[in-house]
Symmetry: C2
Subunit: 384 residues, 2 copies
């Protein structure tokens, strides 16, 4: 308890004072405090909170991306708000309510464009990263999901109502993207992911079983259906119960992905896109994230098992550890070279920091019902 009280005291004093200091931004991060509509600014090296940014609106299911200099973050709120924050001054730079219900965004690989996918009014809006002025508005006659930053100033997005994937190429004229439209992707895409090399865009389907992979290196992009039974064991469920595809991970030539509605991790050969193994788990998996060295996959769970985290060895596909950080483990973020992992323990209002090898608890930080943790090294990675 002493530790927690101390952390809170320090926090209250910090935001104004520290903002003037000269500092690098490579070891900073933001933690979403969804109920409070705020972001906690953290320092990885100090394992401490160094400030808070408030007034970001509805942050349920919020995500964010970073500018290439790792100073600014663009926060995509559920209320359609797009907010640019400055993590050095801990201030909101600009906030626009750009849609009625937004579910994610992406930053172009040159850092100049921010694209937002909208449920309401649907389609994609693209903004200038500097000013947040509208650059392009691309209606698609559908809600959009799973937007991602394809290399070459491009964005890929899937359309829920029409079962398509659109690729917007802004490299010639940011305001007039060249559009490649792929039809017949499958019924009701509910989420998508782009692999870290920007090559493969994988779409999850709510309206039918199976998944769709798109090879963006081919011209035209090559569409492949795979895992025809994926989602088969699951009765009709609302969308928010489907595992998010960002919980997929690619390690050592295989994808590890959460099974839908089962207490299992599926292993899929990345080349042939066929299932090669299953690992039994302690609960229904939500995220299955590779440690940065790809040697292990760390898994968290849906209720009632969301107090646990399991560690699975990639070589043997066996569970090697079951940890119990506490009630409501919503998210995990690894230090970029994998030395430690930060875990949001929402129901205990804290973030726990563990050594990824000894599993030892290295520290903890007080936070208000924390959910997503985002370190600034994401600025340098594709598909986040």
């Amino acid at each position: 308890m002493m530790l927690k009280v101390l952390a809170l005291t320090v926090l209250a004093a910090l935001p104004a004072a520290a903002a003037e200091d000269l500092r690098g931004t490579g070891d900073l991060g933001l933690i979403v405090e969804r109920e409070a509509g705020s972001l906690l600014v953290v320092d990885r090296s100090e394992r401490a909170a160094i400030g808070r940014i408030e007034g970001l609106g509805d942050l349920s299911h919020a995500s964010l991306v970073y500018s290439p200099d790792e100073r600014f973050a663009y926060v995509f709120g559920r209320d359609g708000g797009l907010t640019k924050v400055d993590i050095l001054t801990r201030a909101i730079v600009r906030r626009v309510v750009q849609g009625g219900n937004s579910i994610g965004g992406a930053i172009s690989d040159d850092g100049r464009l921010i694209a937002v996918a909208n449920y309401e009014p649907g389609g994609v809006k693209v903004f200038d990263a500097e000013t947040l002025d509208l650059v392009a508005d691309v209606p698609m006659g559908s809600k959009t999901v799973g937007i991602a930053d394809v290399p070459g100033s491009r964005f890929a997005v899937a359309t829920w109502d029409t079962g398509e994937v659109w690729i917007l190429d802004h490299s010639q004229d940011p305001a007039q993207p060249v559009i490649t439209r792929l039809e017949g992707i499958g019924a009701n895409p509910y989420d998508a992911l782009l692999t870290g090399d920007g090559r493969t865009y994988i779409v999850g389907l709510f309206g039918e079983k199976g998944l769709t992979a798109i090879d963006l290196w081919q011209d035209p992009p090559q569409v492949t259906r795979f895992l025809p039974d994926y989602g088969k064991n699951q009765p009709d469920l609302p969308v928010y119960k489907m595992p998010h595809l960002q919980g997929w991970t690619l390690a050592d030539g295989v994808f590890a992905l959460p099974a839908v509605g089962l207490h299992q991790l599926l292993w899929v050969d990345a080349e042939g896109l066929t299932e090669i193994a299953r690992t039994d788990l302690a609960g229904q998996p939500v995220f299955a994230l590779a440690r940065p060295d790809k040697r292990e996959v760390w898994v968290n769970f849906a209720p009632p098992d969301n107090d646990k985290v399991q560690v699975v060895d990639v070589l043997t596909q066996q569970v090697t550890d079951t940890l119990t950080p506490g009630k409501g483990v919503l998210h995990m973020e690894f230090a970029p070279r994998g030395r430690e992992v930060w875990l949001s323990v929402r129901d205990e209002n804290r973030v726990e920091i563990r050594d990824t090898r000894s599993r030892e608890v290295l520290g903890e930080i007080e936070a208000r019902a924390p959910s997503g943790i985002f370190f600034t090294d994401r600025a340098h990675r594709t598909g986040l």
Copy 2:
């Protein structure tokens, strides 16, 4: 010419003024000016030099690594100097001459230790990253080469005189590393590389043909000899003529590596470690670097072809472009998400910036005989 004059003027004015500004460090970089013993501080977003740090001694073959916060760099000079510089204030924080002839260093994955491999007096010295105080001195009875940061506060290094690989594990006690010593690696290791996942340590041999790969995921580490003809076409040559292994690259399940003494790029299956293809090139390759999306490999050359850069497609293994940036292209560095590439054109005293897709020249920066270019995103990567 106007552009060059302008760049020089701005440079002269900048170092003092800009140092006080609050700024992110994710888009900064350092360019080695070897003859001048200085580092040019550059801003990727502005495509401009923003300062210079002088007085670093002999910077021939110099390399550097970054602190996790992307504020400090540790520079390993040929004269045995280890210099810590602050890229925000453009100042030397501390400089120690720690050996007689150093050939490279590494930073531990927790950012706390700096290890330097020495020709003179041999062995490895490990320093505190904060203070540069000596933490551990590990004599090995040999010159050492190819030091790399293995995950878990470990370092791997090869010994030139005794043909061994030593793995130093500092995770329990930084001052007393636990040592794993692998003998019979091959005659006269001259360089080594660690793959980006930290799994495979590859050692180049000067005293015999072939290479050695060490799988660090196995316990004990598994040693494999491969490419038994590698280096066969090359008569006895001084060490500095051998291609550096840092010029290797792993893309899409294959290694692309410069052939020794031939105008060819070799393609090696990463799983089986067997040669699968060769690509004819315009000269003797020095670096073969994958664009961050792994779709292309960019190659520069030894004299007399060091005015050229060739681009090779990973899918077809065909040369798709031959560029001629200018005399003395010594190094290439990609923006972390691959949107542009910076090229040192030493003999023309400038750095050229190109779009990696259109190949268009986007800008250039005046520099004094530039060699290595190092962007701060390296702080977040293993094996650099």
